[in-house]
Symmetry: C2
Subunit: 383 residues, 2 copies
Amino acid sequence: MSGSARHHSTSDASALPSIDHAERVRTIVDRLPSGDGCDALLVLDLTDVRWLTGFTGSNGWAVVRRDGATLGTDGRYRDRAVAETAGSGVDVIAEETATALEQRLVETLRGAERVALDASTTPHSRWTRLAAQAPLEPTDSSVRLLRQVLDDAELARIERAARAADAALTEVEPLLLATGDEPMTEHDVRTELEYRMRLHGADDRSYSTIVATGPVHGARPHHDATRRTIVEGDTVIIDVGALVDGYHSDMTRSWVIGEATPEQVARYALVAAAQSAGIGALAEVGASGVAAVDIDAAARTVLDDAGYGDWYVHGTGHGVGLDIHELPMLVRTSRDHVRWGNVVTIEPGLYREGFGGFRIEDLVVVTEDGPRVLTQSPKRGVR
Amino acid sequence: MSGSARHHSTSDASALPSIDHAERVRTIVDRLPSGDGCDALLVLDLTDVRWLTGFTGSNGWAVVRRDGATLGTDGRYRDRAVAETAGSGVDVIAEETATALEQRLVETLRGAERVALDASTTPHSRWTRLAAQAPLEPTDSSVRLLRQVLDDAELARIERAARAADAALTEVEPLLLATGDEPMTEHDVRTELEYRMRLHGADDRSYSTIVATGPVHGARPHHDATRRTIVEGDTVIIDVGALVDGYHSDMTRSWVIGEATPEQVARYALVAAAQSAGIGALAEVGASGVAAVDIDAAARTVLDDAGYGDWYVHGTGHGVGLDIHELPMLVRTSRDHVRWGNVVTIEPGLYREGFGGFRIEDLVVVTEDGPRVLTQSPKRGVR
């Protein structure tokens, strides 16, 4: 490691606008009792707990009642919980043993008539134990629904993450394209990208970087990088994002190594056209939103019409925030809506064993003034 | 990136002994009906699915019945599922939509009288939907219990992971100790370790590397690395592991930057003594195993007797394998046993805000011939 490389690591959360957790707690309190008549909300999903309180530890729960919110965690996280929730108005409870902490949870819920709890993320055995001691009501996560709309402080984190991925890709792209002279494996490309995102201000990668190359791996949308050496003629898909203070970015670019065949050029252009159509459709989002299926359809139709419908084996996109996959889901079967303040991916692709694949993906914030693309790496996959 | 660094990336799974998934399926089939009378086992936990079938995708289930095993997944993973389960004798089903895949699951379970399913990892809403269509019985994960005993092929992966972490730490330790001349942050240390583990043959890190330094962060056992610059006088805890073909390693070393005070020297020696006592206790494991609480007690007693009982705020260890935290749990409240073939950590520590902390951890395979330590980095934390 060179000293100069090390000194690129200058990013830190303190230079970012702070997130107003007290406001989030107030929003939830104001919704109690919510549509399903619940007078308490129990939050067990750790990403929901983080969104609500700021606490980032690996064990904890939050309860919201009309008089405010409580965070419970174990002794390992006592200091951290107090530090991270300062200013949120959340009361912190820390107990040394799991039994004592569970007892405190039951006490915190005492007197509530209906306790909303997300049934889709709570393990069945935990639900069963808790249901014996508190009047649980299965609910969609109301926190997860609120998480869909991102504020400026959250956008600042995602934009910084996107910049780190752009900077890393700028450095690694020439190495990738020179694989004929100095061989690179899929693993090498992933290793360099993830390392360089950190040198450019990311806390971490957003997810395990996908590097899918050649006629077999390139046809697998979720391929894990292997020691396969990338060679002339390969299609290459790189799906890479960074993490900044808990927030994710997400971007995909595709290439042909060496001179592209006319068939490769045509299929790349088709994916690019589908991707543009998907982003264009986000301009139609008005005050009441747009059905997510319509965004999916805008991209998909381009591929369908060209006879490649069955080469497009996944959805067009998803929300991004504290999780890499947030609501809304932009897929054929979605019932979600896309609204102002959503940050979503638009990522159509084509895949076929023997050919390989292409995917192009941008991260886009949907605003009253139209879509704004957050991922800025150039798209120069075929030459 | 230098070319020579890149060429260190020579590790790949094909050079490792292969894992016999067919044998694992036979073991489960032979246990049907198991003690609870179930004539089918449904596996939804993805790590359990991988252990049983070899499939590594992010969506899927496995069913074991008397006539064999079936793996279900979605269209994205069709090719990969077939490739990864070749030789296991597992039938592969792939369906494009979630609805169709769920229908195939219900069909696969048809006729079973009692279907064992792990209630601790299955979300409540999924349990409720499935229970309407199949006679589910909550069970401890029988797969997770089998996963505790590792075979030679699994040990080869863990040992390679441990070597990668050792090699990375060998390179980064001098940079850490020279932070007075060329400043390193916690984040820098983590970044370099995770990068270099990959250059030395790891597929990835085992978990987000812990770098906890100084009087505040060092007192938090599960601290996340920050941009704090490491300075003279700091205690430093580095908890680092690598991943090879899905298997984890786990190791912790501690240091004082610069010359240690007599108090630091004494406390470091105490942790080292507790850690030796924990490893020594593993020599007592005979054919019937040893209660995990006894291993925890062996390490804990050393700290308790020196008056530091309340500085030791976590358990002594845990199993390691396809997950970083496997059974058995070596904690005060454990009911588990430690047996031959287990790979466990021994990791006592001391933590106190104002002082910082020390932890020393090795990964140990428990054999008929006694404990064999897999993590080989030297322990030279104080000078």
